[in-house]
Symmetry: C2
Subunit: 223 residues, 2 copies
């Protein structure tokens, strides 16, 4: 019981900061997405694939990339000239709003269309924390198996988009794509699903089209 109260207090303090972030984003019409996945689902590969395409489209974006200890993901994006801010959480298993608040200090929101948060690899804890983002994206991988949406429902419930990565591995896995899609829709009927392969590039265009629309909607809403 004591632990429950402590957790509620931690989440409340987090939510106050998240609200302040949301107000600042809304004031400038900047879209923030929060990508959450298991370790190794391919979030960084996804940003390596989509980053250059977003740039070609003239979208001004920054990636805030979370990791417990290393800066490997940030280095991978930096190598491609993608604008990235590293967030190290130590042994903490999620990014909280305070960390986002600090990471945003150097960012000119007026000149930024999109902020992408690459969360720590973890399907459980990050789903509980509001970062002030416009939406959470549940990022799954075929290699994890088709039962993950029902096993980790909170993220699916909270998500606006579910991405299923590594479709290139489908011939070598016992992955039931239809079952996976149905499980996702069962938890959250309104969620959009995209199936992609960061290795081959399949389906990436669908994401670019979707995010361009979302950026436009956000700008119009806050004009």
């Amino acid at each position: 019981m004591a632990f429950k109260v402590i957790k509620e207090n931690i989440l409340r303090a987090n939510d106050d900061v998240a609200q302040s972030i949301r107000k600042r984003l809304d004031a400038q019409g900047t879209l923030m997405i929060n990508i959450i996945s298991s370790p190794g689902a391919g979030k960084t590969a996804f940003l390596e694939r989509t980053g250059p395409l977003l740039r070609e489209e003239g979208i001004a974006f920054v990636v805030l990339t979370g990791d417990c200890f290393t800066s490997r993901d940030a280095e991978r994006m930096d190598a491609l000239g993608l604008p990235v801010v590293q967030i190290n959480t130590g042994n903490a298993c999620h990014i909280d709003a305070q960390l986002i608040d600090s990471a945003m200090k150097g960012i000119d929101l007026a000149g930024t269309d999109l902020i992408v948060v690459e969360n720590v690899g973890n399907l459980v804890c990050p789903a509980e924390f509001d970062l002030g983002e416009d939406m959470k994206i549940a990022f799954l991988s075929t290699a994890e198996g088709h039962d993950k949406p029902s096993k980790y429902p909170l993220l699916i419930e909270e998500g606006k988009l579910a991405i299923i990565n590594k479709t290139d591995l489908l011939p070598y896995l016992d992955f039931d794509a239809q079952y996976c899609r149905e499980s996702i829709k069962k938890v959250n009927p309104g969620i959009k699903i995209l199936e992609i392969s960061c290795r081959t590039g399949d389906g990436i265009d669908g994401f670019i089209d979707w995010i361009k629309d979302e950026i436009k909607i956000k700008k119009e809403k806050n004009a």
Copy 2:
């Protein structure tokens, strides 16, 4: 700072229960292993593969399987007639010693050689919690990429054995097995590494031989 103190208190309360569990296990010479992985690395498939073999070897074992909400993993093992106790953690991202203590109430330790804890799918949080186990096993998958040992070092540090599953997918992945092995040894030079495929059965015998030795050592030590 306050959060750090709270966390220390939570871990201290956990450790008291863990010590009590460890004493009971030692008194009966029962080995307890704690398997920790990302979601979808293949822990349940591993138990489906190894469970029947352990039974053939005459090893008396029980699986304590953790999951946030569902009982899917327990059902999969139950379908094979493997003795299993379900632990649901709700939104909690790890199993703590109190949950193990409750789950052990129905188990006759004197008649049990081995308790296998299948932790919640999460590479970060479960590594911090002592469950009274004899050893943690870091369970990785090739599909997650070779950089996970350096990105999630605590589990490798705490582990006595690292298992790399899904070797059957190697031809279809950019997975550098040597790099992965070296990263593991860099964090923990004393850890043993086994490479397996739960799909094809490759390498499973190596685990059975290893666990038989560990059970024997534990029994002799506490005879």
